[in-house]
């Protein structure tokens, strides 16, 4: 079988002519930098499998530039320094042409210096806090303005929430997101005393006090809403306590930015119906592309497996990269980067994602209500929102902009008209 594939590929290479085939060293190597062990394996293993599926798909279609694609999988084991080491290994030992990887922000910050030094190319698929722009990273997940801000707007306009509880796990994504949201809410006329912020450790399980604090917020007659940036396992305890306290989504709605289909599969959702999540993708989106994607995933991984937002981000990112390589005729990082700008690829949820010069995507924002079967009912979808690397709601970053295409700078101060720095901040 492999032999057949190989001959097919080489036949294609021959037919394409020697010039093209010579532009890339065969096979084209795709580095996969996701934790397969440790705390983050829970989320990242899925993405590794997604990448393997996408690479196999591409090979079935005849590879790229007449070359077979080869996935190089390494395990950074949820150990942040190891991410830097493995990234260097991928780039210098395995000589990969592109990397897909990382979940947590800290792991990305760990990898940044290495890929900037060695001019690598990384596709980062997870929603994150923004305030960063690297020449060597394409951010296919949501920036805060593609998830947090639309969800907050939904709370303000559609649910009439007047008092906000921002609950998060104590790390950089919730901290920065909540800072942005606080500034945004104040701009929208919400008083400082109507914003309650609480941080809990990773894997927190004792939620009774915090849930009763949230209920008590309703004492001044304002509608309370919870914006949750609680991460991973801690959500399970939180939602169980919420259900036990009998808090219905109509009384105190909760919108989560880190809870997707995967997280809900560890929960009985019958008591959580109506609570919300904001993503750029839900498995329940009804399009043909999505149905095909889900079917392929389930045949490969088993029927009980679900798809989620970062998977779609990899799907879009990988296909855009493949198209950019085809367009550039080489896997050379600089050429591919130039070819990436303006790349378009259909979303699984309908519509088209566009790669912007600030290395972010323009994607629609969806808001879904949790259903009893652990899926989301999509109740709101916006037009595509262009991702913004530097938020407009914090004074320090409002003046910054990122444009790698024309300005050639990821941290450009529009007031002083200068490039603050070429490397990213880590």
């Amino acid at each position: 079988m492999t032999f057949l594939k190989y001959t097919a590929a080489s036949a294609l290479a021959l037919s394409l002519g020697a010039g093209l085939a010579a532009a890339a060293d065969c096979p084209i190597k795709v580095g996969v930098l996701h934790s397969l062990s440790g705390t983050m394996a829970i989320s990242e293993t899925t993405l590794k499998d997604t990448m393997l599926m996408l690479v196999a798909d591409q090979n079935e279609k005849g590879g790229l530039l007449g070359c077979e694609l080869e996935a190089v999988v390494v395990d950074p084991a949820s150990d942040w320094p190891l991410f830097a080491e493995k990234a260097r290994e991928l780039l210098t030992v395995h000589n990969v042409d592109v990397m897909f990887g990382n979940w947590t922000s800290v792991s990305r910050k760990s990898v940044l210096p290495v890929i900037e030094e060695l001019n690598g190319l990384l596709f980062y698929p997870v929603q994150y806090e923004g305030e960063e722009s690297s020449k060597n990273v394409f951010y296919t997940g949501a920036a805060p303005n593609q998830q947090a801000i639309p969800a907050t707007d939904y709370f303000l306009e559609e649910l009439g929430v007047e008092k906000f509880a921002l609950l998060g796990t104590d790390y950089v994504y919730p901290r920065t997101t909540n800072n942005i949201l606080e500034a945004y809410l104040k701009e929208k006329g919400i008083a400082a005393e109507d914003i309650f912020v609480n941080y809990t450790p990773f894997g927190h399980s004792d939620w009774s006090k915090i849930v009763s604090d949230v209920v008590a917020l309703g004492a001044d007659g304002k509608k309370v809403g919870v914006i949750s940036t609680i991460n991973g396992d801690a959500n399970i305890g939180f939602y169980k306590e919420l259900a036990a306290a009998g808090i219905s989504a109509d009384d105190i709605p909760v919108v989560a930015f880190s809870v997707g289909e995967e997280e809900l599969s560890g929960l009985d959702t019958s008591n959580l119906v109506g609570h919300l999540a904001a993503w750029n993708y839900f498995q329940s989106a009804e399009t043909e592309a999505n149905a095909a994607f889900i079917e392929k995933w389930k045949t490969l991984m088993g029927d009980e497996r679900v798809t989620n937002d970062p998977m779609e981000a990899h799907y879009i990112g990988f296909n855009m990269w493949a198209n950019a390589v085809t367009a550039a005729g080489t896997t050379d990082v600089d050429a591919v980067r130039t070819a990436m700008y303006g790349q378009e690829f259909p979303n699984l949820t309908g519509g088209t994602a566009v790669m912007l010069p600030n290395h972010h995507l323009a994607k629609p924002v969806l808001i879904g209500e949790i259903q009893a079967d652990g899926q989301f009912d999509i109740i709101s979808a916006t037009d595509p929102v262009p991702g913004d690397a530097w938020t407009d709601f914090l004074p320090e970053s409002a003046v910054l902009t990122s444009d790698w295409k024309d300005l050639g700078c990821g941290m450009y101060n529009t007031e002083t008209k200068t490039c603050v720095q070429l490397k990213s901040n880590y």
Binding site: S37, D75, E85, R88, T92, V93, P113, V172, N178, P201
Partner: protein, 388 residues
């Protein structure tokens, strides 16, 4: 004096020679200097391994020689890394900020530069103020001094409290573990002033140095080798004298040593602080090679691994600690890096990534049960063989 000390301990000389040969060999084969057979990332791995060997020596001193199973020495290691990391981050950011501000028409005031650095470093965690603990971060000398002082002081205070109230044995182990956990939880907070879960990153870039990483990695490799050599010498010297005899006495029978009139608590405290400082130096050299330090590094599990390395290497002998740390950490890297080939059993594909931890765990059990002397015990067998 020095001569006789080396003469008394031929193993020290052997070790130093081996280390020198190893360093030379790696340097010649490395990418930055010689042929390029050893990649930069592997030089970094080797350099880090040398640092781990150094902290394992510290662990061996306190556990193997004094019988105190400290499950907190990785906290000192991490603190050392944090101290040096603060300067690295500050100095690197200072250069960027000064360059950026110099583009303006009006030259910046010192306060503006500091504010700029603050928002660069802490903007990532949603703050921009410099916490008090960064007071000395602009000075390399002071910060290097803090590498020794901060972990040393923590060890001194903690050790004084613990030894004074005669907490011993497993209780002390659990207490040191609690200390590590408290420190890690504290550092995990975003408000701790050390960037919370993100920690300090980009440490591999030396401020103002334009040399490529292939060269920098070698410098750190040499520095780590030197530190290990000096640490080994120091430890060998400490345990060979009277001080060494007393601490071995404490290990074997604490009450007896106390009755003989030795201030047991002071001896333990001195050794505890000394080993904490050695661990801190190891950490200060380790993290610039790792590139990032964050609280997860300090989590209790890391200190337990440290004990395991020493146990597998063979405690109560310095080269045992070095062997254990080098062997286990390198093998771990190999198995978890995806390089080890999967084993197809026909009905099940054995993936090392999945099973390595299981094997590692069970091998601890086997070593503790059947080879209490660890790998170092093999050398005894060899020696006995020679004599026979």
């Amino acid at each position: 004096m020095r001569k006789s000390f080396i003469a008394q301990n031929p193993s020290v000389l052997t070790f130093l020679l081996c280390l020198a040969a190893f360093t030379l060999g790696v340097s010649l084969l490395a990418e930055g200097f010689g042929v390029g057979l050893i990649s930069t990332s592997f030089v970094k791995t080797l350099g880090k391994t040398l640092c781990l060997c150094l902290v394992a020596i510290a662990m061996d001193l306190i556990w193997g020689y004094c019988g105190i199973l400290s499950l907190g020495h990785f906290a000192f290691f991490g603190l050392g890394g944090y101290m040096v990391g603060m300067w690295l981050m500050y100095a690197r950011t200072e250069i960027i900020v000064e360059r950026s501000l110099a583009q303006g028409v009006i030259p910046p005031t010192p306060q503006e530069v500091v504010d700029g650095i603050g928002s660069q470093i802490f903007g990532v965690v949603g703050s921009s103020e410099f916490p008090v603990i960064w007071m000395f971060s602009d000075s390399l000398t002071l910060q290097l001094l803090l590498v020794l002082l901060v972990p040393g002081l923590l060890a001194l205070v903690f050790g004084w409290l613990a030894f004074r109230s005669r907490v011993t044995g497993v209780y002390l182990s659990i207490l040191t573990q609690a200390m590590t956990l408290a420190l890690a939880l504290y550092l995990f907070q975003n408000d701790s002033g050390l960037r919370g879960n993100n920690g300090l990153s980009g440490l591999q870039n030396l401020p103002g140095v334009t040399a490529p990483q292939s060269a920098i990695s070698l410098w750190f490799f040499w520095a780590s080798a030197l530190a290990l050599a000096l640490g080994y010498l120091l430890s060998a010297w400490v345990i060979s004298g009277k001080f060494g005899s007393v601490i071995r006495g404490i290990r074997d029978n604490e009450a007896r040593v106390r009755f003989l009139g030795y201030p047991v608590e002071s001896f333990k405290l001195m050794l505890f602080t000394l080993t904490a400082m050695i661990a801190a130096i190891a950490g200060a050299l380790y993290y610039p090679q790792a590139g990032i330090i964050n609280p997860a590094e300090i989590a209790p599990i890391a200190s337990i691994y440290l004990a395991v390395w020493v146990a597998i290497g063979g405690r109560g002998r310095l080269y045992g600690a070095v062997l254990g740390a080098a062997f286990v950490s390198l093998v771990s890297t190999w198995f978890t890096g995806g390089q080890a080939p999967d084993i197809n059993l026909g009905f099940y594909t054995l993936q090392w990534v999945d099973w390595w931890q299981v094997i590692l765990g069970l091998s601890f059990v086997l070593v503790t049960l059947f080879a209490p002397k660890g790998i170092g015990g093999l050398f005894d067998l060899l020696k006995r063989g020679d004599k026979a």
